[in-house]
């Protein structure tokens, strides 16, 4: 039998050259250096994720990534960055990365309340590489994910946020990741958020781009949630260039009796893969991953998630709503794993999509892998058009078609947005939805009572 040696794509070759050139300069010695080397060897063996891998079936990165752009090495400053930083969209402490590099000068580091500490990943890796290296280990269910390997190999900076046990933050903490878009480049970053036992916090991740150049983004945020801690998480990916290729990984390790509630919003997202790997490390924990995808033109949004019930009495909820217009593509792949000893697991997964155009596509793939016998798990997936009867009813009351459609669409995704409990953040999410709906065929803004 002939041994088939897969040919490397141009992008894969470029990545190999880049890694060889800069690995000595990447922060983190000792265990971290070894981890980067191993991660890159793993990547080289697998190559870029492609459609023959079930978990990447609908987002063929190997084909999509024609060339690997050079890694951003220096923070860029532009008027657009300054203008964006001047806007405080959410009332809350803000920690800023620009092109993946932590900017202490732009972050609210002074007078941080007791119980919270923030520093850059590069700094943390330099000071205590071995401690941080542990956080770079991929979760079991994502061990084969070569995008995550690439992230571990190249991630040069990000935010390390520690919340002390028992601390409650009234205002959200905002991780603002700005892309300068000044040149075609790659941004590889990783943030680490450790939430101590019993702490309560809202964390908002904003991914925005302000410049004209399309970029390649590979970002991961790891959450380690202590026993009894409660986290509300919101991620918004907005204002991306159409040609931007982006992988966002969310890695969550939950303690016992903990709660993690997430809403992920993608609006003007270019090509986006959001992959989430959540592991129940302790009993009686609950987690919810929810999301809104508003897609048009040739945009592509892939939501892939794995809920790994590795402990008993866990509760998981997923609810994703997608509106797909133009020739855009939406993907939902959700997998709930219930390990043999994880009895009394309660899982519910739903993905609903509305297609507004004949050229629009939605792939829904819910999966359950249940190895325990005393569990309640269910899933539902729908793909539909706007209900013609509802539209007629609204129009028969005098609402012009665009306004009637906008009302129905806003209500459709509003169900998810309403899970954002922080009022200020909820308002920002609503504003993004309204702005997107208003751009459809000159549809007017909604009048609210």
């Amino acid at each position: 039998m002939a041994i088939i040696t897969p040919l490397k794509t141009a992008a894969e070759q470029q990545l190999a050259e880049q890694f060889a050139n800069i690995k000595a300069e990447l922060p983190g010695a000792g265990a971290m250096r070894k981890l980067r080397e191993d991660a890159f060897s793993g990547f080289e063996a697998k190559g870029l994720p492609h459609r023959r891998l079930e978990s990447w079936r609908y987002t063929d990165l190997r084909t999509l990534l024609r060339e690997a752009k050079p890694l951003v090495r220096r923070p860029a400053r532009s008027q657009a960055i300054a203008d964006r930083l001047a806007l405080q969209t959410i009332a809350g402490r803000r920690f800023v990365t620009i092109d993946g590099l932590f900017s202490a000068a732009d972050s609210d580091l002074n007078g941080l309340p007791a119980g919270g500490s923030v520093r850059s990943l590069a700094e943390a890796l330099t000071e205590a590489p071995d401690a941080i290296a542990a956080a770079f280990a991929a979760p079991e269910v994502a061990r084969d994910d070569s995008a995550l390997m690439l992230n571990a190999a190249f991630a040069q900076d990000g935010v390390v946020l520690d919340i002390a046990p028992g601390t409650t933050f009234e205002q959200p903490l905002v991780l603002l990741a700005l892309g300068s878009g000044q040149s075609e480049a790659a941004i590889v970053s990783r943030s680490l958020v450790r939430i101590g036992a019993g702490a309560k916090v809202t964390i908002v991740e904003l991914q925005e781009n302000v410049g004209p150049a399309p970029v390649q983004i590979n970002h991961a945020t790891c959450y380690v949630v202590g026993d009894g801690a409660e986290v509300q998480h919101v991620r918004m990916v907005t204002r991306q260039r159409a040609e931007t290729v982006q992988v966002q990984s969310l890695l969550v390790e939950l303690g016992g009796h903990a709660a993690f509630d997430s809403v992920a919003v993608a609006v003007n997202c270019g090509l986006l893969r959001q992959q989430s790997f959540l592991r129940y490390g302790g009993e009686h924990s609950r987690a919810a991953l929810r999301g809104i995808n508003l897609l048009r033109r040739r945009e592509h949004s892939d939501v892939t998630l794995v809920m790994d019930h590795a402990a008993a009495h866990g509760e998981s909820r997923e609810l994703f709503k997608s509106i797909v217009d133009g020739e855009a593509t939406g993907v939902f792949q959700g997998k709930v794993i219930v390990r043999p000893h994880s009895q009394k697991t309660d899982g519910g997964m739903k993905s609903h999509a509305l297609l507004l155009n004949d050229g629009a596509t939605m792939f829904n793939k819910p999966e359950l892998e249940i190895f325990a016998d005393d569990v309640v798990c269910g899933h539902g997936a729908t793909v539909a058009q706007i209900d013609a009867e509802q539209l007629f009813y609204l129009m028969a009351r005098g609402l012009p078609r665009p306004q009637a459609e906008a009302l129905v669409l806003a209500a459709f995704v509003g169900e998810v947005a309403d899970f954002v409990s922080d009022e200020g953040v909820h308002e920002i999410v609503g504003r993004e939805i309204d702005a997107w709906l208003a751009q459809r065929d000159g549809a007017p803004r909604l009048g609210a009572a």
Binding site: Y393, P400, L407
Partner: protein, 250 residues
């Protein structure tokens, strides 16, 4: 007010013809009732007047105050004064009833070139109209028609009619699903809107509703056309004799 001439209609995606050269006139200030057996085309007529897209008009015209409305979309017809109280009002999850009412009232005002309602005026109008129909304020905060009982949905239709002040009201089986008390409240709501400059087309199977909303004229519909017209006594006669005489079983 409303003049329908030789209206011939089929279902858009099928060959099935529902209305076969229907002629009907409703004058300003008149309450006209249409009675007829199941399948005679009563609901289709109401949908075609309101502008539903599932039908294809093969021939004829519908004139509202002399203007043919057949080319208008449903929202333009509403702004021109057509109002259909649905037999089965739609549930719109996620849209608060108040939000919907305000959007509808302002859309019609805008289409007529009027200024938007100020919120205090709007709330005052809605509360006043809701109180008259025995509609709980709490209901107005809930998503439109979601989880409402049959009677509540019908009351909500009449509330919308009262707020939008249309010139031509079409009531499609408004009595279905109502108990006696609800029927009385709804009928009172309709009667309160009777006016010299407003026409009503009341579609029903049964005489019962017409005891409460007393019509000026009664039309019998069968096989997609009006086969007999008369005064309110015609309804009583139908109640006794049924529709058999008009070529269809009751």
């Amino acid at each position: 007010m409303l003049e329908i001439r030789n209206l011939t209609v089929k279902i858009a995606d099928e060959d099935k013809q529902i209305l076969n050269g229907l002629n009907l006139t409703v004058n300003a200030g008149e309450v006209a009732a249409i009675m007829g057996p199941n399948g005679s085309g009563k609901s289709t007529l109401s949908y075609v007047i309101a502008g539903k897209e599932d039908y294809e008009v093969l021939d004829g015209e519908i004139l509202l105050n002399g203007e043919n409305i057949l080319e208008m979309e449903a929202d333009a017809r509403a702004a021109a004064g057509i109002f259909l109280a649905f037999q089965y009002p739609l549930e719109i999850p996620g849209v608060a009833t108040m939000t919907f009412l305000k959007a509808a009232m302002n859309a019609q005002r805008k289409a007529r070139g009027e200024a938007e309602l100020l919120t205090p005026d709007f709330i005052k109008q809605v509360n006043g109209a809701a109180d008259k129909l025995g509609i709980d304020r709490e209901m107005l905060r809930r998503p439109l028609n979601v989880g409402f009982s049959g009677g509540e949905k019908k009351r909500m239709e009449i509330l919308q009619m009262a707020l939008l002040q249309p010139s031509m009201c079409i009531l499609d089986e408004t009595d279905s699903g109502l108990d006696i008390d609800a029927l009385r409240i709804v009928a009172e709501g309709v009667n309160a809107l009777r006016a010299q400059n407003r026409g009503f087309l009341v579609i029903t199977h049964y005489q019962r509703l017409l005891d409460h909303i007393v019509p000026d004229t009664v039309h019998v519909m069968s096989k997609g056309r009006i086969v007999r017209s008369g005064g309110k006594e015609l309804a009583l006669e139908l109640e006794k004799s049924g529709y058999a005489a008009y070529g269809e079983a009751a």
